[in-house]
Amino acid sequence: MDRQLSAEIEVSGLRKSFDKLLAVSDLSFAAGAGQIFGLVGPDGAGKSTTIRMLAGILPPDAGEIRVAGCDVVADPESVKSVISYMPQRFGLYEDLTVDENIRFYADLFGVARRRREQRSEELLEACAMNEFRRRLAGKLSGGMKQKLGLVCALIHTPRVLLLDEPTTGVDPVSRREFWAMLYALLDEDVTILVSTSYLDEAERCHRLALLHQGRLLICDRPDNLRARMTRTVLSIVSPHAGEIRKVLVAVEGISDAIVVGDSVHVFVDDASLRQSKIQPLLDRAMVPYAAIEQVPPTIEDFFVDVLARGGYRGWQTSSDQ
């Protein structure tokens, strides 16, 4: 069912410190061939450090890394011809045009001219940028720069693509196009590892590793993560959301109540609290509300749930089966 036949990226016991700061600690995970694997966590979680170690440009203090069959720790140079790495600030030349940037990267990777022309045509078409080929890279919008970065990173058809927060600051429309390009690459059997600090974006990956303060909280498919959420989320729509929160926040069985726009999201241990406690309490307090309904938990809800229960302890990488 899962496309987890062979691991294209395998990391075990990875550790990296910068002076006194432990950036990555005892990190292990595996990403299957032909998958989009998400490295998800806030700033400072160790995402960039991990990606740089995977790309063979930062030696780890301890641990093993295999990417596309290469032993990255023993021979960091070996991996460079089979991967493409797009750092957070991809090195586009702002005073070169879109086409010139692509040609520069194609030359760097030794891509033959005919191959380059065909491939850049396809890639620019896929991201709706064909008509901007003569525009200076410096004159592109943020979303377009990211897409051009991806085109340059893909000009040599890598086996593994490493993307460090490629969509930060990019609007939802450009972000969707960017993701559509990533999905299209899977048909070429490229394995993609992408980092993000946005949990809504995590839902688009086949598998995720949630990182916090350099450690792995959990690694699984997004739907499995949501299914592991022990609490139920009830949404109460009301113009008096703030008052509802006050009424409910300290009630036994309710672990959290957060105001989200015109509603309150109430995290309950047991959905039956709706009838037995919540409705009577709101009626007694005479706070009007339009509806109470169960909503599906998000990855963010899950993340918060795990952190609130004491972080990574007790959580491990799950097997894929």
């Binding site: 979303g143 809504d200 839902e203 957060i258 918060v304």
Partner: protein, 322 residues
């Protein structure tokens, strides 16, 4: 305080840069005491509008009142009545926590007893008691963010502008931040938020969506979600997914289809006939594990639907708008 002094009111606002129309006759109001989200793609005119509202840029024509003051006539007064916090945390990293607070206090003329009270409040609100003399550079993202918020509202402004306030902080810190925002709101403060992130937009009471300089949608998150899609949204699972996508895209009842992780998001004109048809076609093609369920569109679906219809070459200036 009168509602007018806590609201943002924009009518027929226009800003041109040479022949380029960055903001094109937009009209809206962020009401007193609401969390108002201002959304739009890169280059939509969003930042230009914010800069006008903060009194940093003069409009070409039209009116905008912030806290009861005209942005064209009294821009420097406006800056004292608003708080502004950007994603880049406008804090000095090489100053300590207290030094940062004092710096902003100086800028906003907060002194004496009021400064003592506000300093104590910021430390408590941000959870920084005991860290008064830590260098700001050593604080985690969540702390920095709450400190930046505290510094931005030291002078108790009735309106606060937040520019992508929670990008990059961990989810717990983020929830805590939004709780603070809700507290501000219950104290009567109006909060004006810009963001690219739809889960952040969900926290707003109402949203305005701006695209190519024009206002294209205004309403509560629920209203935008309901109105944006001209059809029903289905979550489709099938193996292999790529083949399913090809089959689905050819069906006449399908408006849009996109890969979303391990499944597809498919917009059909009518769920009754559309869903049946999809199931029939996918099963007939021998695809395995076919599951179809109707799901509620998210804000992102709404955003993409609303801006996508009017998109094409979004960076090319529309001659008609000149």
């Amino acid at each position: 305080m009168a509602d007018q002094q806590r609201s943002v009111s924009v009518s027929n606002l226009v800003k041109r840069f040479g022949s380029f129309v960055a903001v094109d006759h937009i009209t809206f109001e962020a009401r007193a005491g609401e969390v108002f989200g201002f959304l739009g793609p890169n280059g939509s005119g969003k930042s230009t509008t914010i800069r006008i509202l903060c009194g940093l840029l003069r409009p070409t024509s039209g009116e905008a009142y912030v806290a009861g003051l005209s942005v064209a006539a009294q821009p420097e007064l406006i800056r004292r009545r608003i708080g502004y916090m950007s994603q880049k945390f406008s804090l000095y990293n090489d100053l300590t926590v207290v030094e940062n607070v004092r710096f902003f206090a100086g800028m906003y003329n907060v002194a004496g007893d009021e400064l003592r009270r506000r300093l104590a409040w910021v430390l408590e609100m941000a959870g920084l008691a005991g860290r008064e003399h830590s260098l700001t550079a050593t604080l985690s993202g969540g702390w920095k963010q709450r400190l930046a918020l505290g510094c931005a509202i030291l002078h108790r402004p009735p309106i606060v502008f937040l520019d992508e306030p929670t990008s990059g902080v961990d989810p717990l810190a983020r929830r805590r931040f939004w709780e603070l925002i809700q507290q501000l709101r219950s104290d009567g403060v109006t909060v004006f938020v810009t963001t690219h992130y739809m889960d952040e937009a969900e926290y707003c009471n109402r949203l305005a969506l701006i695209h190519r300089g024009r206002l294209i949608a205004l309403g509560t998150p629920a209203q935008l979600k309901q109105s944006a899609l001209s059809g029903d949204l289905l979550l489709v699972e099938a193996i292999p997914l790529g083949t399913a996508l090809e089959v689905i895209r050819r069906l006449p009842t399908v408006r849009d289809a996109a890969v979303f992780g391990n499944a597809l998001h498919v917009v059909v004109s009518d769920v009754e006939s559309g869903g049946e048809r999809l199931l029939g076609e996918l099963t007939a093609r021998g695809l395995a594990g076919v599951r179809i369920q109707r799901i509620q569109p998210g804000l992102e679906d709404a955003f993409v639907a609303l801006t996508g219809q009017k998109r094409e070459n979004k960076e090319v200036i529309d001659p008609k708008s000149l």
